[in-house]
Subunit: 157 residues, 4 copies
Protein backbone atom coordinates (compact mmCIF):
# COMPACT_ATOMS: atom_id res chain seq x y z
CA UNK A 1 0.00 0.00 0.00
CA UNK A 2 1.51 3.27 -1.09
CA UNK A 3 2.18 6.15 1.21
CA UNK A 4 -0.43 8.33 -0.55
CA UNK A 5 -3.11 5.79 0.22
CA UNK A 6 -2.47 6.03 3.95
CA UNK A 7 -3.21 9.73 4.09
CA UNK A 8 -6.59 10.98 5.24
CA UNK A 9 -8.53 12.82 2.56
CA UNK A 10 -10.38 15.89 3.83
CA UNK A 11 -13.07 17.30 1.57
CA UNK A 12 -13.49 21.06 1.84
CA UNK A 13 -16.83 22.18 0.46
CA UNK A 14 -18.49 25.56 0.20
CA UNK A 15 -19.80 28.25 -2.05
CA UNK A 16 -18.12 29.70 -5.12
CA UNK A 17 -19.14 33.26 -4.17
CA UNK A 18 -18.28 33.45 -0.47
CA UNK A 19 -17.69 36.53 1.64
CA UNK A 20 -14.15 37.54 2.59
CA UNK A 21 -14.40 35.96 6.05
CA UNK A 22 -15.34 32.63 4.50
CA UNK A 23 -12.35 32.81 2.20
CA UNK A 24 -10.17 33.47 5.25
CA UNK A 25 -11.68 30.42 6.95
CA UNK A 26 -11.12 28.32 3.85
CA UNK A 27 -7.47 29.38 3.65
CA UNK A 28 -6.88 28.51 7.28
CA UNK A 29 -8.60 25.14 6.85
CA UNK A 30 -6.55 24.36 3.73
CA UNK A 31 -3.34 25.26 5.54
CA UNK A 32 -4.18 23.12 8.59
CA UNK A 33 -5.20 20.16 6.42
CA UNK A 34 -1.87 20.27 4.60
CA UNK A 35 0.19 20.75 7.77
CA UNK A 36 -1.52 17.69 9.25
CA UNK A 37 -0.35 15.64 6.29
CA UNK A 38 -3.84 15.10 4.92
CA UNK A 39 -4.85 15.38 1.26
CA UNK A 40 -7.30 18.13 0.38
CA UNK A 41 -10.24 17.13 -1.82
CA UNK A 42 -12.59 19.74 -3.26
CA UNK A 43 -14.76 20.65 -6.22
CA UNK A 44 -11.81 22.23 -8.00
CA UNK A 45 -13.40 25.55 -8.93
CA UNK A 46 -13.49 29.07 -7.40
CA UNK A 47 -14.40 30.55 -4.01
CA UNK A 48 -13.97 28.33 -0.97
CA UNK A 49 -12.52 25.55 -3.14
CA UNK A 50 -9.80 27.75 -4.59
CA UNK A 51 -8.96 29.47 -1.30
CA UNK A 52 -8.56 26.16 0.52
CA UNK A 53 -6.53 24.59 -2.31
CA UNK A 54 -4.26 27.59 -2.65
CA UNK A 55 -3.44 27.60 1.07
CA UNK A 56 -2.95 23.84 1.13
CA UNK A 57 -0.47 24.11 -1.76
CA UNK A 58 1.41 26.92 -0.03
CA UNK A 59 1.74 24.69 3.03
CA UNK A 60 3.14 21.85 0.94
CA UNK A 61 0.00 19.72 0.65
CA UNK A 62 -1.52 17.70 -2.18
CA UNK A 63 -4.86 18.80 -3.67
CA UNK A 64 -7.47 16.88 -5.66
CA UNK A 65 -10.21 18.78 -7.53
CA UNK A 66 -13.26 16.92 -8.82
CA UNK A 67 -14.81 19.25 -11.35
CA UNK A 68 -18.21 19.38 -13.10
CA UNK A 69 -16.82 19.95 -16.60
CA UNK A 70 -15.14 17.52 -18.96
CA UNK A 71 -11.75 19.22 -19.32
CA UNK A 72 -9.27 18.67 -16.45
CA UNK A 73 -7.56 21.99 -17.24
CA UNK A 74 -10.66 23.86 -16.05
CA UNK A 75 -9.67 23.18 -12.44
CA UNK A 76 -8.23 26.14 -10.54
CA UNK A 77 -4.42 26.43 -10.69
CA UNK A 78 -3.95 25.18 -7.12
CA UNK A 79 -5.28 21.73 -7.93
CA UNK A 80 -2.56 19.09 -8.34
CA UNK A 81 -4.82 16.28 -9.48
CA UNK A 82 -7.81 17.58 -11.45
CA UNK A 83 -10.49 14.96 -12.11
CA UNK A 84 -12.96 15.91 -14.80
CA UNK A 85 -16.38 14.28 -14.58
CA UNK A 86 -18.56 15.97 -17.22
CA UNK A 87 -21.46 15.34 -14.83
CA UNK A 88 -22.32 18.87 -13.78
CA UNK A 89 -23.70 19.09 -10.26
CA UNK A 90 -23.93 15.31 -9.94
CA UNK A 91 -20.18 15.47 -9.35
CA UNK A 92 -20.99 16.72 -5.84
CA UNK A 93 -21.73 13.09 -5.04
CA UNK A 94 -18.16 12.17 -6.03
CA UNK A 95 -16.65 14.89 -3.83
CA UNK A 96 -18.30 13.28 -0.79
CA UNK A 97 -17.50 9.75 -1.95
CA UNK A 98 -13.80 10.57 -2.25
CA UNK A 99 -13.41 12.31 1.11
CA UNK A 100 -12.92 10.54 4.43
CA UNK A 101 -14.42 13.50 6.22
CA UNK A 102 -15.89 16.82 5.07
CA UNK A 103 -15.55 20.41 6.24
CA UNK A 104 -18.33 22.70 5.00
CA UNK A 105 -17.74 26.46 4.94
CA UNK A 106 -20.63 28.76 4.09
CA UNK A 107 -22.25 27.46 0.93
CA UNK A 108 -25.63 27.22 -0.71
CA UNK A 109 -27.52 24.26 -2.17
CA UNK A 110 -24.50 22.69 -3.86
CA UNK A 111 -22.82 22.51 -0.48
CA UNK A 112 -26.02 21.06 0.96
CA UNK A 113 -25.95 18.21 -1.57
CA UNK A 114 -22.39 17.47 -0.47
CA UNK A 115 -23.31 17.59 3.22
CA UNK A 116 -26.17 15.19 2.45
CA UNK A 117 -24.03 12.81 0.40
CA UNK A 118 -21.46 12.89 3.18
CA UNK A 119 -24.12 11.69 5.60
CA UNK A 120 -25.37 9.06 3.13
CA UNK A 121 -21.86 7.65 2.83
CA UNK A 122 -21.32 7.76 6.59
CA UNK A 123 -18.67 10.47 6.54
CA UNK A 124 -18.39 12.98 9.38
CA UNK A 125 -19.32 16.50 8.33
CA UNK A 126 -17.85 19.46 10.22
CA UNK A 127 -19.41 22.90 9.67
CA UNK A 128 -18.11 26.47 9.75
CA UNK A 129 -20.84 29.07 9.36
CA UNK A 130 -22.82 26.77 7.10
CA UNK A 131 -26.13 24.84 7.04
CA UNK A 132 -26.99 24.09 10.67
CA UNK A 133 -28.79 20.82 10.26
CA UNK A 134 -28.70 17.39 11.82
CA UNK A 135 -25.59 15.66 10.55
CA UNK A 136 -23.31 18.69 10.72
CA UNK A 137 -21.00 19.15 13.72
CA UNK A 138 -20.47 22.90 14.04
CA UNK A 139 -16.95 24.11 14.79
CA UNK A 140 -16.07 27.55 16.12
CA UNK A 141 -12.83 28.05 14.19
CA UNK A 142 -10.95 26.62 11.22
CA UNK A 143 -8.38 25.09 13.57
CA UNK A 144 -11.11 23.37 15.55
CA UNK A 145 -12.79 22.19 12.35
CA UNK A 146 -9.62 20.46 11.16
CA UNK A 147 -8.97 19.04 14.61
CA UNK A 148 -12.49 17.60 14.71
CA UNK A 149 -12.09 16.27 11.18
CA UNK A 150 -8.88 14.44 12.00
CA UNK A 151 -9.90 13.29 15.49
CA UNK A 152 -9.48 9.55 15.96
CA UNK A 153 -12.34 7.54 17.36
CA UNK A 154 -14.97 10.16 16.62
CA UNK A 155 -18.35 8.92 15.38
CA UNK A 156 -17.92 7.92 11.77
CA UNK A 157 -14.16 7.50 12.11
Amino acid sequence: MDEWRKRVRVGVIGGNRPEKRHLDMARKVGECVARAGAILVCGGLAGVMEAAASAAKKAGGLTIGIIPGSVPGEANPYIDIPIATGMGYARNCLVAMNSDVLIAIDGEYGTLTEISYGNIYGKRVIGLDTWEIKGVVMASSPEEAVALALQKGAPGD
Copy 2:
Protein backbone atom coordinates in the same frame (compact mmCIF):
# COMPACT_ATOMS: atom_id res chain seq x y z
CA MET B 1 -44.90 18.66 -29.85
CA ASP B 2 -46.55 15.54 -28.53
CA GLU B 3 -49.24 15.57 -25.90
CA TRP B 4 -46.96 13.86 -23.35
CA ARG B 5 -44.50 16.71 -23.60
CA LYS B 6 -47.12 19.26 -22.59
CA ARG B 7 -47.84 17.59 -19.27
CA VAL B 8 -46.27 18.89 -16.10
CA ARG B 9 -43.90 16.44 -14.44
CA VAL B 10 -44.18 16.36 -10.65
CA GLY B 11 -41.33 14.71 -8.77
CA VAL B 12 -42.37 13.01 -5.56
CA ILE B 13 -39.41 12.42 -3.27
CA GLY B 14 -39.11 10.91 0.17
CA GLY B 15 -37.71 8.14 2.28
CA ASN B 16 -37.77 4.43 1.52
CA ARG B 17 -38.65 3.56 5.14
CA PRO B 18 -41.41 6.04 5.95
CA GLU B 19 -44.06 5.80 8.68
CA LYS B 20 -47.62 4.83 7.79
CA ARG B 21 -48.82 8.44 7.80
CA HIS B 22 -46.15 9.37 5.26
CA LEU B 23 -47.24 6.52 3.03
CA ASP B 24 -50.82 7.81 3.28
CA MET B 25 -49.62 11.28 2.29
CA ALA B 26 -47.65 9.84 -0.62
CA ARG B 27 -50.69 7.93 -1.87
CA LYS B 28 -52.87 11.02 -1.74
CA VAL B 29 -50.21 13.07 -3.52
CA GLY B 30 -49.84 10.41 -6.24
CA GLU B 31 -53.58 10.29 -6.75
CA CYS B 32 -53.92 14.08 -6.99
CA VAL B 33 -50.97 14.35 -9.39
CA ALA B 34 -52.56 11.78 -11.72
CA ARG B 35 -56.04 13.32 -11.48
CA ALA B 36 -54.57 16.68 -12.43
CA GLY B 37 -53.15 15.12 -15.59
CA ALA B 38 -49.54 15.50 -14.53
CA ILE B 39 -46.83 12.85 -14.90
CA LEU B 40 -45.35 11.47 -11.69
CA VAL B 41 -41.56 11.26 -11.52
CA CYS B 42 -39.82 9.49 -8.66
CA GLY B 43 -36.81 7.42 -7.69
CA GLY B 44 -38.61 4.21 -8.64
CA LEU B 45 -37.95 2.21 -5.50
CA ALA B 46 -39.86 1.50 -2.24
CA GLY B 47 -41.53 3.61 0.46
CA VAL B 48 -42.81 7.04 -0.53
CA MET B 49 -41.83 6.40 -4.15
CA GLU B 50 -43.83 3.18 -4.42
CA ALA B 51 -46.86 4.52 -2.53
CA ALA B 52 -47.09 7.60 -4.73
CA ALA B 53 -46.58 5.63 -7.96
CA SER B 54 -49.11 2.97 -7.00
CA ALA B 55 -51.81 5.58 -6.29
CA ALA B 56 -50.97 7.52 -9.45
CA LYS B 57 -51.37 4.32 -11.51
CA LYS B 58 -54.68 3.53 -9.82
CA ALA B 59 -55.91 7.00 -10.78
CA GLY B 60 -54.91 6.47 -14.39
CA GLY B 61 -51.64 8.43 -14.41
CA LEU B 62 -48.26 7.83 -16.00
CA THR B 63 -45.22 7.17 -13.79
CA ILE B 64 -41.50 7.54 -14.45
CA GLY B 65 -38.98 5.95 -12.06
CA ILE B 66 -35.33 6.95 -12.22
CA ILE B 67 -33.48 4.23 -10.35
CA PRO B 68 -29.95 3.91 -8.93
CA GLY B 69 -29.29 0.43 -10.35
CA SER B 70 -28.47 -0.61 -13.90
CA VAL B 71 -31.42 -2.92 -14.56
CA PRO B 72 -34.73 -1.20 -15.44
CA GLY B 73 -36.70 -4.17 -14.08
CA GLU B 74 -35.57 -3.27 -10.55
CA ALA B 75 -38.11 -0.43 -10.48
CA ASN B 76 -41.22 -1.05 -8.40
CA PRO B 77 -44.16 -2.56 -10.32
CA TYR B 78 -46.08 0.73 -10.44
CA ILE B 79 -43.50 2.42 -12.61
CA ASP B 80 -44.49 2.66 -16.29
CA ILE B 81 -41.22 4.04 -17.57
CA PRO B 82 -38.27 2.80 -15.54
CA ILE B 83 -35.00 4.58 -16.28
CA ALA B 84 -31.91 2.78 -15.03
CA THR B 85 -28.87 4.95 -14.33
CA GLY B 86 -26.30 2.70 -12.67
CA MET B 87 -25.19 5.83 -10.79
CA GLY B 88 -26.25 4.99 -7.26
CA TYR B 89 -27.21 8.04 -5.22
CA ALA B 90 -25.97 10.42 -7.92
CA ARG B 91 -29.23 9.58 -9.67
CA ASN B 92 -30.95 11.87 -7.18
CA CYS B 93 -29.65 14.71 -9.32
CA LEU B 94 -31.55 13.28 -12.30
CA VAL B 95 -34.79 13.02 -10.35
CA ALA B 96 -34.70 16.77 -9.73
CA MET B 97 -33.53 17.54 -13.27
CA ASN B 98 -36.46 15.66 -14.76
CA SER B 99 -39.18 17.18 -12.59
CA ASP B 100 -40.81 20.56 -13.19
CA VAL B 101 -41.61 20.82 -9.51
CA LEU B 102 -40.91 18.60 -6.49
CA ILE B 103 -42.99 17.44 -3.53
CA ALA B 104 -40.92 16.13 -0.61
CA ILE B 105 -42.56 13.84 1.95
CA ASP B 106 -40.62 12.87 5.05
CA GLY B 107 -37.21 11.65 3.95
CA GLU B 108 -33.63 11.62 5.11
CA TYR B 109 -30.40 12.70 3.41
CA GLY B 110 -31.31 11.27 0.01
CA THR B 111 -34.39 13.46 -0.01
CA LEU B 112 -32.25 16.39 1.10
CA THR B 113 -29.99 15.96 -1.93
CA GLU B 114 -33.09 16.06 -4.13
CA ILE B 115 -34.45 19.15 -2.38
CA SER B 116 -31.06 20.80 -2.89
CA TYR B 117 -30.79 19.81 -6.55
CA GLY B 118 -34.32 21.08 -7.05
CA ASN B 119 -33.23 24.46 -5.75
CA ILE B 120 -30.05 24.40 -7.85
CA TYR B 121 -32.13 23.79 -10.98
CA GLY B 122 -34.65 26.48 -10.03
CA LYS B 123 -37.54 24.10 -9.39
CA ARG B 124 -40.13 24.85 -6.73
CA VAL B 125 -39.99 22.40 -3.82
CA ILE B 126 -43.11 21.78 -1.75
CA GLY B 127 -42.75 19.99 1.59
CA LEU B 128 -44.93 17.68 3.66
CA ASP B 129 -43.46 16.85 7.06
CA THR B 130 -39.95 16.99 5.64
CA TRP B 131 -36.75 19.07 5.99
CA GLU B 132 -37.85 22.57 7.01
CA ILE B 133 -35.18 24.62 5.34
CA LYS B 134 -34.98 27.67 3.13
CA GLY B 135 -36.11 26.63 -0.32
CA VAL B 136 -38.94 24.35 0.82
CA VAL B 137 -42.52 25.69 0.84
CA MET B 138 -44.33 23.71 3.53
CA ALA B 139 -47.85 22.48 2.77
CA SER B 140 -50.35 21.37 5.36
CA SER B 141 -51.96 18.55 3.37
CA PRO B 142 -51.29 16.41 0.28
CA GLU B 143 -54.06 18.22 -1.58
CA GLU B 144 -52.51 21.58 -0.80
CA ALA B 145 -49.08 20.30 -1.77
CA VAL B 146 -50.28 19.28 -5.23
CA ALA B 147 -52.23 22.51 -5.62
CA LEU B 148 -49.10 24.51 -4.76
CA ALA B 149 -47.04 22.37 -7.11
CA LEU B 150 -49.35 22.97 -10.05
CA GLN B 151 -50.10 26.63 -9.29
CA LYS B 152 -49.47 28.90 -12.25
CA GLY B 153 -47.40 32.00 -11.78
CA ALA B 154 -45.84 30.86 -8.54
CA PRO B 155 -42.14 31.66 -8.02
CA GLY B 156 -40.17 29.25 -10.19
CA ASP B 157 -43.14 28.53 -12.47
Copy 3:
Protein backbone atom coordinates in the same frame (compact mmCIF):
# COMPACT_ATOMS: atom_id res chain seq x y z
CA MET C 1 -47.23 -4.91 -13.79
CA ASP C 2 -48.43 -2.18 -16.08
CA GLU C 3 -48.90 -2.60 -19.79
CA TRP C 4 -46.02 -0.22 -20.59
CA ARG C 5 -43.64 -2.41 -18.66
CA LYS C 6 -44.44 -5.43 -20.85
CA ARG C 7 -43.37 -3.71 -24.04
CA VAL C 8 -39.96 -4.35 -25.54
CA ARG C 9 -37.72 -1.28 -25.60
CA VAL C 10 -35.67 -0.96 -28.78
CA GLY C 11 -32.75 1.45 -28.69
CA VAL C 12 -32.00 3.11 -32.00
CA ILE C 13 -28.51 4.55 -32.07
CA GLY C 14 -26.54 6.37 -34.74
CA GLY C 15 -24.88 9.56 -35.81
CA ASN C 16 -26.25 13.07 -35.53
CA ARG C 17 -24.93 14.01 -38.99
CA PRO C 18 -25.98 11.03 -41.12
CA GLU C 19 -26.40 10.85 -44.91
CA LYS C 20 -29.88 10.88 -46.42
CA ARG C 21 -29.95 7.11 -46.86
CA HIS C 22 -29.23 6.63 -43.16
CA LEU C 23 -32.08 8.97 -42.27
CA ASP C 24 -34.33 6.89 -44.53
CA MET C 25 -33.21 3.73 -42.75
CA ALA C 26 -33.80 5.36 -39.37
CA ARG C 27 -37.32 6.39 -40.35
CA LYS C 28 -38.17 2.90 -41.53
CA VAL C 29 -36.74 1.39 -38.34
CA GLY C 30 -38.72 3.83 -36.18
CA GLU C 31 -41.91 3.03 -38.04
CA CYS C 32 -41.42 -0.74 -37.74
CA VAL C 33 -40.57 -0.50 -34.05
CA ALA C 34 -43.77 1.42 -33.36
CA ARG C 35 -45.93 -0.86 -35.52
CA ALA C 36 -44.60 -3.86 -33.60
CA GLY C 37 -45.80 -2.26 -30.37
CA ALA C 38 -42.30 -1.70 -29.02
CA ILE C 39 -41.09 1.48 -27.30
CA LEU C 40 -38.34 3.42 -29.06
CA VAL C 41 -35.39 4.52 -26.92
CA CYS C 42 -32.75 6.87 -28.28
CA GLY C 43 -30.35 9.67 -27.41
CA GLY C 44 -33.06 12.27 -27.99
CA LEU C 45 -31.13 14.63 -30.25
CA ALA C 46 -30.80 15.11 -34.04
CA GLY C 47 -29.95 12.91 -37.03
CA VAL C 48 -30.71 9.19 -36.74
CA MET C 49 -32.29 9.76 -33.32
CA GLU C 50 -34.73 12.39 -34.57
CA ALA C 51 -35.59 10.54 -37.79
CA ALA C 52 -36.37 7.32 -35.93
CA ALA C 53 -38.39 9.09 -33.23
CA SER C 54 -40.37 11.15 -35.72
CA ALA C 55 -41.38 8.04 -37.70
CA ALA C 56 -42.19 6.12 -34.55
CA LYS C 57 -44.48 8.94 -33.40
CA LYS C 58 -46.20 9.09 -36.79
CA ALA C 59 -46.89 5.36 -36.50
CA GLY C 60 -48.42 5.81 -33.05
CA GLY C 61 -45.49 4.66 -30.94
CA LEU C 62 -44.01 5.90 -27.68
CA THR C 63 -40.51 7.44 -27.65
CA ILE C 64 -37.99 7.91 -24.86
CA GLY C 65 -35.00 10.23 -25.38
CA ILE C 66 -32.07 10.11 -22.95
CA ILE C 67 -30.18 13.31 -23.54
CA PRO C 68 -26.70 14.57 -22.58
CA GLY C 69 -27.87 17.97 -21.32
CA SER C 70 -29.62 18.89 -18.09
CA VAL C 71 -32.82 20.39 -19.54
CA PRO C 72 -35.48 17.89 -20.68
CA GLY C 73 -36.84 20.40 -23.20
CA GLU C 74 -33.64 20.06 -25.25
CA ALA C 75 -34.88 16.74 -26.61
CA ASN C 76 -36.13 16.78 -30.18
CA PRO C 77 -39.91 17.40 -30.54
CA TYR C 78 -40.67 13.76 -31.35
CA ILE C 79 -39.62 12.55 -27.92
CA ASP C 80 -42.53 11.78 -25.59
CA ILE C 81 -40.48 11.11 -22.49
CA PRO C 82 -37.28 13.17 -22.42
CA ILE C 83 -34.83 12.15 -19.72
CA ALA C 84 -32.13 14.71 -19.00
CA THR C 85 -28.90 13.37 -17.55
CA GLY C 86 -26.46 16.29 -17.50
CA MET C 87 -23.75 13.67 -18.06
CA GLY C 88 -22.62 14.50 -21.58
CA TYR C 89 -21.40 11.49 -23.53
CA ALA C 90 -21.54 9.26 -20.45
CA ARG C 91 -25.29 9.19 -21.09
CA ASN C 92 -24.54 6.76 -23.92
CA CYS C 93 -24.18 4.13 -21.22
CA LEU C 94 -27.76 4.83 -20.10
CA VAL C 95 -29.13 4.49 -23.63
CA ALA C 96 -27.78 0.92 -23.77
CA MET C 97 -28.86 0.17 -20.19
CA ASN C 98 -32.43 1.18 -20.92
CA SER C 99 -32.84 -0.75 -24.17
CA ASP C 100 -33.65 -4.46 -24.40
CA VAL C 101 -31.97 -4.60 -27.80
CA LEU C 102 -30.14 -2.04 -29.95
CA ILE C 103 -30.23 -1.16 -33.64
CA ALA C 104 -27.19 0.82 -34.81
CA ILE C 105 -27.43 2.86 -38.00
CA ASP C 106 -24.31 4.51 -39.39
CA GLY C 107 -22.66 6.41 -36.55
CA GLU C 108 -19.22 7.35 -35.31
CA TYR C 109 -17.55 6.92 -31.94
CA GLY C 110 -20.62 7.82 -29.89
CA THR C 111 -22.48 4.99 -31.56
CA LEU C 112 -19.48 2.74 -30.92
CA THR C 113 -19.68 3.44 -27.18
CA GLU C 114 -23.36 2.44 -27.29
CA ILE C 115 -22.61 -0.75 -29.27
CA SER C 116 -19.95 -1.58 -26.68
CA TYR C 117 -22.19 -0.86 -23.69
CA GLY C 118 -24.88 -2.97 -25.34
CA ASN C 119 -22.47 -5.88 -25.43
CA ILE C 120 -21.33 -5.24 -21.85
CA TYR C 121 -24.95 -5.39 -20.67
CA GLY C 122 -25.67 -8.51 -22.74
CA LYS C 123 -28.05 -6.80 -25.16
CA ARG C 124 -28.24 -7.93 -28.78
CA VAL C 125 -26.94 -5.28 -31.20
CA ILE C 126 -28.23 -5.25 -34.79
CA GLY C 127 -26.35 -3.17 -37.35
CA LEU C 128 -27.30 -1.25 -40.49
CA ASP C 129 -24.34 0.15 -42.38
CA THR C 130 -22.47 0.72 -39.11
CA TRP C 131 -19.34 -0.51 -37.29
CA GLU C 132 -18.75 -4.08 -38.50
CA ILE C 133 -17.23 -5.58 -35.40
CA LYS C 134 -17.70 -8.67 -33.28
CA GLY C 135 -20.89 -8.19 -31.30
CA VAL C 136 -22.90 -6.56 -34.09
CA VAL C 137 -25.30 -8.70 -36.16
CA MET C 138 -25.51 -6.98 -39.55
CA ALA C 139 -28.95 -6.69 -41.16
CA SER C 140 -29.56 -5.98 -44.84
CA SER C 141 -32.64 -3.77 -44.42
CA PRO C 142 -34.49 -1.79 -41.75
CA GLU C 143 -37.30 -4.35 -41.81
CA GLU C 144 -34.86 -7.18 -41.22
CA ALA C 145 -33.13 -5.21 -38.48
CA VAL C 146 -36.37 -4.79 -36.53
CA ALA C 147 -37.34 -8.41 -37.15
CA LEU C 148 -33.96 -9.54 -35.79
CA ALA C 149 -34.31 -7.17 -32.85
CA LEU C 150 -37.71 -8.54 -31.87
CA GLN C 151 -36.96 -12.21 -32.64
CA LYS C 152 -37.72 -14.48 -29.71
CA GLY C 153 -35.14 -16.98 -28.59
CA ALA C 154 -32.25 -15.23 -30.32
CA PRO C 155 -28.95 -15.10 -28.43
CA GLY C 156 -29.30 -12.48 -25.75
CA ASP C 157 -33.09 -12.68 -25.77
Copy 4:
Protein backbone atom coordinates in the same frame (compact mmCIF):
# COMPACT_ATOMS: atom_id res chain seq x y z
CA MET D 1 0.63 26.04 -11.92
CA ASP D 2 1.90 23.14 -9.87
CA GLU D 3 4.47 20.67 -11.06
CA TRP D 4 1.92 17.83 -11.06
CA ARG D 5 -0.28 19.74 -13.48
CA LYS D 6 2.53 19.95 -16.03
CA ARG D 7 2.92 16.19 -16.30
CA VAL D 8 1.33 14.29 -19.16
CA ARG D 9 -1.34 11.84 -18.03
CA VAL D 10 -1.26 8.55 -19.93
CA GLY D 11 -4.36 6.36 -19.65
CA VAL D 12 -3.63 2.64 -19.81
CA ILE D 13 -6.76 0.67 -20.65
CA GLY D 14 -7.38 -3.01 -21.17
CA GLY D 15 -9.10 -6.12 -19.95
CA ASN D 16 -9.34 -7.36 -16.39
CA ARG D 17 -8.72 -10.98 -17.45
CA PRO D 18 -5.78 -10.67 -19.87
CA GLU D 19 -3.31 -13.36 -20.97
CA LYS D 20 0.17 -13.42 -19.52
CA ARG D 21 1.70 -11.67 -22.52
CA HIS D 22 -0.74 -8.79 -22.12
CA LEU D 23 0.20 -8.44 -18.48
CA ASP D 24 3.85 -8.33 -19.54
CA MET D 25 3.01 -5.60 -22.03
CA ALA D 26 1.08 -3.67 -19.39
CA ARG D 27 3.99 -3.86 -16.96
CA LYS D 28 6.42 -2.59 -19.55
CA VAL D 29 4.06 0.23 -20.52
CA GLY D 30 3.57 1.21 -16.86
CA GLU D 31 7.34 1.24 -16.30
CA CYS D 32 8.01 3.37 -19.39
CA VAL D 33 5.24 5.82 -18.53
CA ALA D 34 6.71 6.35 -15.06
CA ARG D 35 10.30 6.60 -16.30
CA ALA D 36 9.18 9.29 -18.75
CA GLY D 37 7.79 11.30 -15.85
CA ALA D 38 4.19 10.91 -16.91
CA ILE D 39 1.28 10.13 -14.58
CA LEU D 40 -0.49 6.82 -15.15
CA VAL D 41 -4.29 6.91 -15.26
CA CYS D 42 -6.33 3.71 -15.32
CA GLY D 43 -9.56 2.09 -14.22
CA GLY D 44 -8.00 1.10 -10.90
CA LEU D 45 -9.01 -2.56 -10.85
CA ALA D 46 -7.34 -5.85 -11.85
CA GLY D 47 -5.63 -7.23 -14.96
CA VAL D 48 -3.99 -4.74 -17.31
CA MET D 49 -4.85 -1.89 -14.93
CA GLU D 50 -3.13 -3.49 -11.94
CA ALA D 51 -0.11 -4.71 -13.92
CA ALA D 52 0.51 -1.26 -15.39
CA ALA D 53 0.00 0.51 -12.05
CA SER D 54 2.22 -1.90 -10.15
CA ALA D 55 5.10 -1.41 -12.62
CA ALA D 56 4.61 2.35 -12.67
CA LYS D 57 4.84 2.43 -8.87
CA LYS D 58 7.96 0.28 -8.88
CA ALA D 59 9.55 2.77 -11.29
CA GLY D 60 8.68 5.68 -9.00
CA GLY D 61 5.63 6.99 -10.85
CA LEU D 62 2.30 8.36 -9.68
CA THR D 63 -0.89 6.40 -10.41
CA ILE D 64 -4.54 7.49 -10.56
CA GLY D 65 -7.31 4.86 -10.59
CA ILE D 66 -10.85 5.86 -11.54
CA ILE D 67 -13.02 3.03 -10.29
CA PRO D 68 -16.63 1.97 -10.93
CA GLY D 69 -17.55 1.47 -7.27
CA SER D 70 -18.27 4.03 -4.58
CA VAL D 71 -15.49 3.13 -2.11
CA PRO D 72 -12.01 4.48 -2.94
CA GLY D 73 -10.40 1.60 -1.03
CA GLU D 74 -11.60 -0.84 -3.69
CA ALA D 75 -8.83 0.33 -6.02
CA ASN D 76 -5.90 -2.04 -6.41
CA PRO D 77 -3.02 -1.45 -3.96
CA TYR D 78 -0.79 0.16 -6.61
CA ILE D 79 -3.11 3.13 -7.05
CA ASP D 80 -1.90 6.28 -5.30
CA ILE D 81 -4.98 8.39 -5.97
CA PRO D 82 -8.13 6.28 -6.12
CA ILE D 83 -11.18 8.14 -7.42
CA ALA D 84 -14.48 6.41 -6.70
CA THR D 85 -17.34 7.22 -9.07
CA GLY D 86 -20.19 4.85 -8.15
CA MET D 87 -21.10 4.99 -11.84
CA GLY D 88 -20.30 1.45 -12.92
CA TYR D 89 -19.18 1.19 -16.53
CA ALA D 90 -20.06 4.83 -17.22
CA ARG D 91 -16.80 5.60 -15.41
CA ASN D 92 -15.02 4.49 -18.58
CA CYS D 93 -15.93 7.89 -19.96
CA LEU D 94 -14.03 9.53 -17.10
CA VAL D 95 -10.92 7.43 -17.71
CA ALA D 96 -10.72 8.84 -21.24
CA MET D 97 -11.62 12.36 -20.12
CA ASN D 98 -8.80 12.40 -17.58
CA SER D 99 -6.06 11.08 -19.87
CA ASP D 100 -4.10 13.19 -22.36
CA VAL D 101 -3.47 10.11 -24.46
CA LEU D 102 -4.52 6.45 -24.16
CA ILE D 103 -2.71 3.15 -24.60
CA ALA D 104 -5.04 0.17 -25.12
CA ILE D 105 -3.74 -3.33 -24.41
CA ASP D 106 -5.92 -6.31 -25.29
CA GLY D 107 -9.37 -5.68 -23.85
CA GLU D 108 -13.00 -6.35 -24.63
CA TYR D 109 -16.02 -4.06 -24.84
CA GLY D 110 -15.08 -1.98 -21.81
CA THR D 111 -11.80 -1.11 -23.48
CA LEU D 112 -13.72 -0.36 -26.67
CA THR D 113 -15.87 2.22 -24.85
CA GLU D 114 -12.66 3.86 -23.62
CA ILE D 115 -11.11 3.82 -27.11
CA SER D 116 -14.31 5.42 -28.41
CA TYR D 117 -14.47 8.06 -25.69
CA GLY D 118 -10.80 8.81 -26.35
CA ASN D 119 -11.67 9.54 -29.96
CA ILE D 120 -14.72 11.60 -28.96
CA TYR D 121 -12.55 13.76 -26.71
CA GLY D 122 -9.85 14.10 -29.38
CA LYS D 123 -7.22 12.08 -27.51
CA ARG D 124 -4.71 9.94 -29.39
CA VAL D 125 -5.23 6.21 -28.84
CA ILE D 126 -2.27 3.85 -29.22
CA GLY D 127 -2.98 0.11 -29.46
CA LEU D 128 -1.12 -3.05 -28.45
CA ASP D 129 -2.83 -6.23 -29.58
CA THR D 130 -6.24 -4.63 -29.15
CA TRP D 131 -9.25 -3.56 -31.26
CA GLU D 132 -7.88 -2.73 -34.73
CA ILE D 133 -10.27 -0.01 -35.74
CA LYS D 134 -10.07 3.46 -37.20
CA GLY D 135 -8.87 5.76 -34.46
CA VAL D 136 -6.33 3.37 -32.95
CA VAL D 137 -2.64 3.71 -33.92
CA MET D 138 -1.17 0.23 -33.54
CA ALA D 139 2.26 -0.07 -31.93
CA SER D 140 4.53 -3.10 -32.19
CA SER D 141 5.95 -2.98 -28.66
CA PRO D 142 5.25 -1.39 -25.28
CA GLU D 143 8.27 0.87 -25.72
CA GLU D 144 6.98 2.08 -29.07
CA ALA D 145 3.50 2.55 -27.64
CA VAL D 146 4.78 4.88 -24.92
CA ALA D 147 7.04 6.70 -27.38
CA LEU D 148 4.07 7.28 -29.69
CA ALA D 149 1.95 8.36 -26.75
CA LEU D 150 4.46 10.96 -25.61
CA GLN D 151 5.51 12.13 -29.09
CA LYS D 152 5.22 15.88 -29.50
CA GLY D 153 3.43 17.28 -32.51
CA ALA D 154 1.59 14.05 -33.30
CA PRO D 155 -2.03 14.39 -34.44
CA GLY D 156 -4.13 15.15 -31.39
CA ASP D 157 -1.14 16.46 -29.44
